[in-house]
């Protein structure tokens, strides 16, 4: 389909090669396995596939069809048209990894700007060029801490209030490191914001303490005591942050954390059924040489012109091979570009506006929902950003089924990941939700209650 060869050209080429047929070029492939019959349908023209794809896509209902209150790690924000306009430029999306800086200054400068925006947003010193997503960035944080202590400290203490998928991924990654224990998030640990149980676990064998800010339940918690405890035992601390919240919230850097990681999906990246998203990884200066993943640095060329290059590459897999601390090769180049454009086109004013709108609308929703009989805020005395937990009078699944009939996607059913949290719904509100949407939700909830 995309091969341009005419029969004449093929003939000419074979002559130059000195072969009779293309088939004979595959002589070394064991004969009995060569050219199998594949049970894959015949190819389709572009017109036909376009039609088929429309059909498949229409078997879905989307956040355009529903009013959605789903968050839990992926957020429905407005993406300005400028983002995709740039992303669709072939010079960006069909470019390779910028190993040859002379012909990749576009990509390299964009990543450099991304790194800069991430350090500013988080208040940290250095950002890498991105990781696969927030979950893998969190795992790489543990990797960094483990290697920082040269394997002498074997405990990773993680809060139960960190995203469940992130904790699962962390455990998958820690399997490869000898005798490393991931603890602190067992059901018995609970999700109390007083963090006392976590504090009790931190000792001289702790490499890293991981908490989320705001946490998985949307709560803004003061981790100062925890950070002090960790540092006094010589352990490192990592925050898992939500980037939109940092339009309003004090950044991780001001809490003196060592590592701040998160997922940049809210920054101009569509929901796209879970991926591709954007892992953000930032650290304090002292850890820069332990950073996995690509880094773009500023330098000059032979003519003295400012230029950008991939740097500290000796840390990476293609040079260190078995001695590198991580095997990471690709980053999420195009998604990092999306975030860079999003933050540039929103700028200081626009980004702050989005954060404020999320905050205000979420608080209005919380206030209105808690007025419905049978519904109450699970954590009424803890501040939150744009997500909050509501205790429901009936199982969340039943309520959501009813909401769906009214074209509303209710919040996340927490019992799916937290068996101790039955009848708890995690509701997210972004700038895309209007007051009317919230009032509609409340009206339907009142109905369910009376059912």
């Amino acid at each position: 389909m995309f091969t341009p060869h005419t029969p004449q050209e093929i003939e000419e080429m074979l002559k130059v090669i000195g072969a009779e047929t293309i088939e004979e070029l595959f002589d070394k492939v064991p004969e009995n396995f060569r050219f199998p019959e594949l049970d894959i349908p015949d190819g389709l023209s572009e017109m036909a596939i376009a039609s088929e794809l429309q059909e498949i896509a229409s078997a879905n209902a989307t956040t355009d069809d529903f009013i959605s209150f789903l968050g839990a790690g992926a957020y429905n924000h407005y993406i300005p048209a400028a983002v995709d306009t740039i992303l669709r430029r072939g010079e960006f999306y069909t470019a390779y990894t910028p190993y040859q800086p002379e012909v990749s200054q576009g990509t390299l400068q964009a990543i450099f700007e991304f790194q800069s925006l991430m350090t500013e947003l988080t208040g940290m010193d250095v950002s890498n060029a991105s990781h696969y997503d927030g979950a893998t960035a969190t795992s790489e944080a543990a990797n960094l801490a483990y290697h920082f202590f040269r394997g002498k400290r074997k405990k990773i203490v993680v809060s139960r209030s960190v995203h469940p998928h992130y904790r699962e991924t962390l455990r998958t990654y820690m399997q490869g490191l000898e005798d490393v224990q991931v603890l602190g998030d067992e059901p018995a640990a609970g999700v109390s914001s007083d963090l006392n149980k976590m504090l009790a676990l931190i000792d001289k064998d702790t490499a890293l303490v991981i908490v989320q800010y705001p946490d998985f339940f949307g709560r803004i918690i003061d981790y100062t005591k925890l950070i002090e405890a960790a540092h006094s035992q010589g352990a490192l601390v990592a925050f898992v942050f939500n980037p939109t919240s940092l339009g309003l919230l004090k950044p991780p850097g001001e809490f003196d954390v060592d590592i701040a990681v998160g997922d940049g999906q809210p920054l101009g990246i569509p929901l796209s059924y879970g991926g591709p998203y954007l892992g953000i990884f930032t650290v304090k200066d002292k850890y820069v040489r332990k950073l996995a993943g690509r880094l773009v640095g500023e330098t000059v060329d032979e003519a003295g012109e400012r230029a950008y290059v991939l740097t500290l590459t000796a840390r990476e897999q293609h040079i260190r091979r078995e001695k590198s601390t991580s095997n990471i090769c690709t980053n999420q180049g195009l998604m990092a570009l999306a975030a860079t454009i999003y933050l540039s086109v929103l700028g200081k004013a626009g980004f702050k506006q989005v954060a404020e709108l999320c905050y205000q609308k979420a608080h209005y929703a919380a206030e209105q929902i808690s007025k419905v009989e049978g519904y109450e805020l699970a954590y009424p005395n803890t501040p939150f950003f744009h997500e909050f937990v509501v205790t429901t009078p009936k199982p969340v699944s039943m309520i959501n089924a009813h909401l769906q009939e009214h074209w509303i996607l209710g919040g996340y059913d927490l019992s799916q990941d937290y068996p101790e949290m039955n009848n708890k719904m995690l509701i997210a509100v972004t700038e895309k939700i209007s007051k009317d949407d919230i009032d509609d939700l409340v009206a339907v909830l009142q109905e369910v209650d009376h059912a």
């Binding site: 040269r150 040489r289 500290l312 000796a314 840390r315 040079i319 260190r320 001695k323």
Partner: protein, 130 residues
């Protein structure tokens, strides 16, 4: 290639200066030339650590490579030359003097007998170039 007499050399391109039972090590002129511009030095040990022969005690990074520095004997780390982490270039400009990496107290100085002297090391390097 500069190969000072009076030092001992390992096949893995470290030099050793022995004073009593205290050994100072670094990387040879040949090594720094192979690596080209050193950009970073990282120590894998701290004063007080025990090391065995062959253990990696530091990593030297250049733009195109990262090489481990191995200690050719058993002993205890006494002192690190932290200055090289600020000025990694000194490994290129002055590998035998300001570019020293660390000092170690040897448990068995006779282990160093296996190492080459300056002439043997030069001959070894010539055979590698071929």
């Amino acid at each position: 290639m500069n190969t000072p007499k009076g030092l001992k050399y390992a096949k893995t391109d470290e030099w050793v200066k022995l004073e009593g039972d205290v050994a100072t090590i670094g990387i040879s002129d040949y090594a720094q030339d192979q690596l080209s511009d050193v950009v970073y030095v990282e120590f894998a040990v701290e004063p007080g650590d025990s090391v065995s022969k062959g253990d990696a005690v530091a990593t030297v990074e250049s733009v195109k490579a990262a090489a481990d520095v191995n200690f050719p004997a058993d002993g205890e780390i006494l002192e690190l030359n932290e200055a090289v982490t600020e000025n990694p270039e000194s490994l290129n400009s002055d590998p035998y003097d300001n570019g020293w990496l660390l000092k170690m107290k040897l448990s068995d100085p006779s282990q160093l007998d296996e190492l080459m002297d300056a002439d043997a090391y030069d001959a070894y390097n010539e055979s590698r170039e071929g």
